[in-house]
């Protein structure tokens, strides 16, 4: 399908695309800019865009007041751990749904997804009680499990759609070649699904990294990840915008960098199966 695109049209389209991109990115940009301002400049009216005295003092104060590395480490463990655990559980689940579907497979898939329609707060109370009983409050292990369960439907769904694209005959060939279930999953299915698994992992890490509801409610100090780190700067004693911004920037920086480097993989993953 050839369509004539005039140079003017191209310029307008490009400008429009940049406009939309900037609009979406602006809050993040504003947060980053604010983190380099003094508290007074941060609330100045009219707002200051670039013409202020750039300072790193917010970062120094934030680092001094709270141990950033500890929160970061908790985030890495919780996001990475829940993703890893989720993949280990979801690969066999998606395998069985894609290659040996039963009468209820479609219903189970939908039912799993329906759990995402429930407001999280609706199950906060029971989960909180379970956590108390099991002594999991403010533990990284507990959060790994909860975040894994929260995101499991999405992981299974994504893997299921990838697996559906893999011809079943190849797995049958593996079975004929003497591969047991473990070998079939390990040597044939998983390597073939690597692109799909990679984008699933990435998306899930981002989701788990940014998860605030459960991390805030189920942690206090020991297992608190970066989301709790940010929240600790929005205190009732008064808002310190510059410091809050510095904390936010520090919290989102790792995931922003990860997303930047893996954007190709992510876009491919999110649009996979849309066009055959």
């Amino acid at each position: 399908m050839a369509r004539a695109v005039t140079p003017q049209r191209k310029v307008i389209n490009t400008a429009l695309a940049w406009g939309v991109g900037l609009l979406i990115f602006f809050p993040i940009l504003w947060t980053i800019l604010t983190s380099f301002k003094t508290e007074a400049q941060a609330i100045a009216d009219p707002p200051l865009f670039l013409n202020f005295d750039w300072t790193l003092e917010n970062y120094a104060i934030v680092q001094e007041r709270s141990d950033y590395m500890r929160f970061l480490w908790n985030s890495v463990i919780i996001a990475g751990g829940s993703t890893l655990l989720g993949i280990v559980i979801a690969v066999p689940a998606a395998w069985s749904m894609a290659f040996v579907p039963g009468r209820w497979t479609k219903d189970i898939l939908l039912w799993m997804l329906s759990t995402k329609m429930l407001p999280a707060v609706g199950v906060l109370y029971p989960i909180y009680l379970i956590f108390i009983k099991l002594g999991l409050l403010d533990s990284r292990g507990g959060l790994v499990v909860v975040l894994m369960l929260i995101n499991l439907p999405i992981i299974v769904w994504m893997l299921y759609t990838y697996f559906k694209e893999i011809p079943g005959e190849i797995l049958e060939a593996a079975r004929m070649d003497g591969a047991g279930l473990r070998e079939e999953l390990l040597y044939v299915l998983t390597p073939m699904a690597i692109p799909g698994i990679a984008s699933t992992v990435l998306l899930n890490i981002i989701l788990a990294w940014n998860e605030a509801f459960w991390t805030l409610n189920l942690t206090a100090a020991k297992a608190a990840p970066l989301t709790a780190f940010i929240a600790s700067y929005s205190s009732p004693e008064g808002l310190f915008y510059a410091k809050l911004s510095a904390a936010s920037t520090m919290a989102i920086a790792p995931i922003l960098i990860l997303g930047w480097f893996s954007q190709k993989q992510l876009v491919r993953g999110l649009t996979f199966g849309a066009v055959k």
Binding site: E172, A173, M176, D177, E183
Partner: protein, 334 residues
């Protein structure tokens, strides 16, 4: 060894029985072809033998061992799929070595066997390529290589040539036949192409709607088809069937005569008709004759080049000694 016995095997999908109770013995070393129109259950039967589908009732024995509940990996059979089903993420070498790796052979033995198979199949130069970089014929050879390295009790082929173009198909057909001559291993081959069946098989199993219509050597099926279905399915071009007074004269409901058993003449013969289409192949000439009063079209195959054209009136003489007679049930009258 690879003697395979199916004992009252049935297969149902839900309420639909695709294989009614079926008995079949495939002798060790035999090249058996399952042939039939699409949907006749031939692939299902092969998958039952492979273990990729579970039988509903009955028993499958491989070399006297009950294999009915044995998983495919443990049956000692190798399969070549229509789509080749190569592992796209592995090199040709790794593809061929995969069953040996699964069998936990040591690396030296794996290398030896892979090299051997690659030589036999002319794949030596391609061992480090991925399947995506190979042509259809080469991919099929890799699939065969993957099957032969493990020295299975039997090979199962599921329409292995249908994705290849015509010229390549004839070549691969010969290669598979030669492979069988050399290995003397049991082979079960599924196809809908009766030419493949006739040229390759020691034994042909003709299937229709899950039922075995006839089992026999290619020439037995050609000369003594058990019923109308087999008579029509085996042989190319198809056998001519004639009903009515001409059949009644011979004491049959239907009579059948193969195109190659009719001679043409411009002046004499008991039947006559008008040439509708003539196909000149050089080696043979096919005539599709209308207005014979016997059947809508009578197909005739004449040796060499015979010069009748569209619209010519010609006379036909069937060879009475090979005329087949069928009764009202469609069964051949001996």
């Amino acid at each position: 060894m690879g003697r395979i016995v199916l004992d009252k095997v049935t297969k149902s999908f839900g309420d639909v029985q695709v294989i009614p109770p079926l008995d079949l013995t495939i002798e060790d070393g035999e090249f058996t072809v399952f042939v039939g129109p699409s949907g006749c259950g031939k692939s299902t039967l092969l998958r039952l033998i492979a273990g990729l589908e579970d039988v509903s009732t009955g028993q499958i024995r491989i070399d006297r061992q009950d294999a009915t509940m044995v998983p495919p990996a443990k049956r000692g059979l190798a399969m070549v799929f229509q789509s080749y089903a190569l592992y796209p993420h592995m090199s040709v070498r790794k593809n061929i070595a995969f069953p040996l790796r699964m069998a936990k052979l040591d690396q030296a033995e794996i290398d030896r066997r892979v090299t051997g198979a690659a030589e036999v199949l002319n794949l030596t130069d391609y061992l480090d390529r991925r399947p995506g970089q190979l042509s259809g014929g080469q991919r099929q050879r890799v699939a065969i290589g993957r099957a032969i390295v493990r020295e299975p009790a039997a090979f199962l082929f599921d329409e292995p040539l249908s994705n290849l173009d015509a010229a390549l198909r004839v070549g691969m057909r010969l290669e598979i036949s030669e492979l069988h001559e050399r290995l003397k291993t049991t082979m079960i081959y599924v196809t809908h192409d009766q030419v493949e069946a006739m040229t390759m098989a020691d034994k042909i199993v003709v299937l229709r709607a899950g039922n075995i219509e006839q089992v026999g050597s290619p020439l037995e099926l050609y000369r003594e088809p058990r019923n109308l279905f087999v008579a029509g399915f085996i042989g190319s071009p198809r056998m001519n069937f004639i009903e009515g007074p001409e059949a009644a004269k011979l004491g049959a409901k239907t009579i059948g005569i193969r195109p190659e058993h009719i001679t043409v003449s411009d002046s004499e013969g008991p039947w006559s008709g008008v040439v509708s289409v003539s196909e000149h192949l050089g080696s043979d000439t096919y005539f599709h004759v209308h207005d014979t009063g016997l059947a809508e079209t009578i197909t005739v195959r004449a040796d060499g080049e015979v010069g009748f054209r569209h619209g010519d009136r010609i006379h036909l003489t069937p060879r009475m000694d090979v005329m087949q007679r069928f009764d009202a049930e469609g069964l051949r009258i001996a």
